[in-house]
């Protein structure tokens, strides 16, 4: 079994006169939740459709759970659940029948259908709507039914294109909870969205797409040997703080002025405790010392700015 849930290599996709994806390559690890971000027209939807095997790229290779999507698209489909940004439901069917149809169409045996429907409905907290027509549901409930249909066959990989668009804050929070649960169960998620704050709640990795190219792909939360940024705030200004920190502290100084500093720390809570003790022992009037976590929005904007800076001659 390969470690990567999704492997994309040299993907190229063209629309007339426009290269929507240009030499796109990346890997997504099993059990991760990857936020696919980028401006409008960056190629996010095209990329998701190519991974799902719905659109054929001009060049390149895509593997999902070890299956070559271009060579064996039907076999790959068994491992993929896909929610399009413009999904539709069978409005004249009840939610129960929608789930039954989706599960049966995705190969769930007849005798397992009732259990599958019950399990999916419970997972999506929509069991009380099973006998309601899909056309009578609210936007958020429809979204849940669509996600339920996409995951009715327990796919290894879920591709979700703008899953939270049009949802109210409560429904979004609930969706985030669902994604965390799925991740805990080992499902790999690739989620495209414009709402970065929402993605930040559950994403472990970020993939930035811009003008059809991967600008950056990286983990948002390192699992081992974390390098964390610590914000130090002082109760009173201290002249020459940078020099005093350099002499007393075993940490990289990212930024410093008289009233505080931003330090980069390697290690876990023990290292953090040692650093704080050192700061206090050196006589600094420490009033706050906390991890400064870069959220997805900041990370995305920094990446975009860095790339823009690199691109500027």
């Amino acid at each position: 079994m390969t470690a990567a849930a999704i492997t994309v290599a040299g993907l190229r996709f063209e629309y007339p006169g426009v290269r929507a994806l240009d030499d796109v390559s990346f890997e997504i690890q099993r059990g991760s939740v990857t936020a696919l971000v980028g401006p409008n027209g960056a190629g996010k939807t095209t990329l998701l459709r190519c991974i799902a095997g719905l659109d054929r790229p001009m060049l390149g290779a895509v593997q999902v759970a070890g299956v070559d999507v271009l060579e064996e698209p039907r076999a790959a489909h068994r491992r993929i659940g896909f929610l399009s940004d413009s999904f539709g439901l069978y409005e004249s069917l009840t939610v129960r029948r929608c789930f039954q149809h989706a599960a049966a169409a995705n190969g769930v045996p007849q005798d397992a259908l009732p259990d599958t429907v019950a399990r999916v409905a419970a997972r999506l907290e929509i069991a009380d709507k099973l006998d309601v027509l899909a056309g009578e549901l609210s936007r958020g409930q429809r979204q849940r039914v669509a996600i339920g249909q996409a995951m009715s066959h327990d796919p290894e990989v879920l591709l979700l294109d703008e899953p939270a668009s049009g949802l109210d804050p409560e429904a979004r929070a609930s969706l985030a909870g669902l994604f965390r649960t799925l991740q805990a169960q080992g499902v790999t998620l690739l989620v495209s969205s414009h709402i970065l704050a929402e993605l930040d709640e559950y994403s472990t990795d970020m993939l930035v797409l811009r003008a059809g190219r991967v600008v950056e792909g990286r983990a948002l939360r390192e699992k081992s040997a974390p390098r964390r940024r610590m914000r130090l705030a002082l109760a009173a200004p201290v002249a020459g703080l940078r020099e005093r920190l350099a002499a007393a502290v075993v940490a990289a100084i990212v930024d410093a002025d008289e009233s505080g500093a931003l330090l980069e720390l390697e290690g876990g809570p023990e290292a953090q405790a040692r650093l704080l003790a050192g700061l206090v022992a050196s006589g600094l009037p420490v009033c706050a010392f906390a991890e400064e976590r870069e959220d997805l929005q900041a990370s995305y904007l920094r990446t975009v700015q860095e790339r823009a800076g690199t691109a500027t001659p």
Binding site: P16, R19, I80, F82, F87, L89, S92, H101, A105
Partner: protein, 442 residues
């Protein structure tokens, strides 16, 4: 036994309890009224039952079959179907049967009434009429579903009503031929030099074409569901159609050379006509050919064939048939009005080259709009309006220049047609080159 999920979904929607009760009640009331309305009630009921079955299956059924995929595209559920585990054959028959299940429910009741009430002294047996309605309906429904799938693939799903349009086209173009067969005073039909009983021949033809239509739908569904196929089935269908039509031109005792020419010319005519049809119904954007070009450049011939549209196959077969026809052209083809047409395979093919060039010139534009409508306009102008006006104005030379098959001299016809083809190829080459330049800017 596990019921096909797509069939079950269609049955949930089509065969509700209310409908299951309403259809027989309404039909039986109609038949009862006809029966008591006058003399020879049973025969009138049988005639009405045949008409009702024809309308239910041939009109309503065709409309539903034509819209079954389009409605899914409009409702944005088709992508989920394409990703499902349902195989292309299961999807084909479940869509074909499921979407028209209610029409079949009513149609079968009407056919049962037809068989029960028809007098035994009808010139054509009730069983034959019923079989013709069934075979014709399957053919029309499968063709409508195929047309719907092609419409969806071209991104025209919102236009809808494809089944109705197909029905109109069938009535206008195929209807007269079928009606001519059905109401002909001839007892039998000459085909490949032999005589066949008229109704048997029609039923055999309808059944054969219905089977081809279902097979064509299955192949098209394969493409839609990402099952990799090569276009051999389409080439086989062209050969079958060429053989079928050639049979009507071959009189008993026709010489070997005439038979061969009829077959080859039929192949050229069928392939040429299907080139136009496929151009109008397939994806023809520049990306389709860029993809094939990339595959060929990388030596991926199998993939190139899999991604090749069907029209180049028809075009290549038309080219091969044209060369063969030119080689086996008999000295005398007959003395009828079509003589000139039959004797001009090469000019006809060169005009096809021109038209393909013009079509792709429009289709390869970056901002393509209404390519098919533009092409219909230019074809009407080139083949009908301007030559017609020129002939009316006694400008025979102008009509001949635009429609080279009007030349008496074969050499002149070929020369001018070659100029036409050159214009088409030049337009296409210019467009292709300009796209390649544009690619770098994107």
């Amino acid at each position: 036994m596990e019921l096909n999920p797509e069939l079950r979904r269609n049955l949930w929607l089509e065969l509700t309890l209310h409908r299951l009760i309403a259809m027989p009640v309404v039909l039986l009331m109609v038949f009862a009224m006809i029966h008591v309305a006058g003399e020879e009630g049973a025969e009138k009921v049988a005639v009405a039952a045949a008409w009702i079955a024809g309308l239910l299956l041939g009109a309503w059924g065709v409309r539903n079959a034509g819209d079954c995929v389009l409605e899914e595209v409009r409702a944005r559920t088709w992508d989920a179907q394409r990703l499902s585990a349902i195989g292309p054959w299961s999807m084909t028959w479940s869509k074909l049967l499921g979407s028209v299940s209610f029409a079949w429910y009513g149609g079968l009741i009407a056919l049962a009434v037809l068989l029960a009430c028809a007098p035994r002294d009808w010139p054509v047996s009730a069983a034959m009429v019923a079989a013709m309605i069934v075979a014709g309906s399957v053919l029309a429904q499968a063709a409508a579903c195929l047309a719907g799938l092609a419409t969806a693939r071209k991104g025209h799903a919102k236009r809808g009503g494809i089944g109705v349009w197909l029905l109109i086209v069938l009535l206008v173009f195929v209807g007269p031929g079928v009606a001519g067969m059905a109401f002909s005073r001839e007892a039998g039909w000459q085909w490949w030099g032999s005589t066949y009983e008229r109704w048997n021949f029609m039923l055999g033809s309808a059944t054969c074409f219905a089977a081809w239509a279902v097979f064509g739908l299955y192949r098209s569904m394969c493409t839609e569901l990402q099952v990799r196929t090569r276009p051999w089935a389409f080439a086989l269908f062209l050969l079958f159609l060429a053989g079928y039509l050639a049979g009507f031109w071959i009189a008993p005792g026709a010489g070997y050379r005439i038979v061969l020419y009829a077959l080859v010319f039929s192949a050229m005519a069928v392939s040429g006509a299907m080139t136009y049809l496929q151009l109008f119904t397939e994806e023809t954007g520049v990306i389709v050919f860029r993809r094939v070009q990339v595959r060929i450049a990388r030596g991926e011939w199998r993939r190139a064939l899999e991604e090749l549209p069907c029209w180049p196959i028809a075009f290549a077969m038309a080219a091969a048939a044209c060369v063969t026809a030119q080689l086996v052209l008999p000295e005398s083809i007959g003395d009828n009005e079509m003589r000139r047409l039959f004797a001009a395979p090469l000019p006809l093919f060169l005009l096809l080259v021109r038209d393909v060039g013009i079509f792709l010139f429009f289709a390869f534009a970056r901002q393509r709009r209404r390519v098919e409508a533009a092409m219909v306009f230019y074809l009407a102008m080139l083949y009908w309006v301007i030559p017609g006006l020129a002939t009316l104005a006694d400008l025979k030379w102008l009509a001949q220049l635009l429609l080279p098959i009007l030349f008496e001299s074969a050499g002149a016809a070929i020369g001018v047609a070659a100029l036409h083809a050159g214009v088409g190829v030049a337009l296409l080459a210019w467009r292709w080159r300009s796209y390649r330049i544009g690619e770098g800017k994107a």
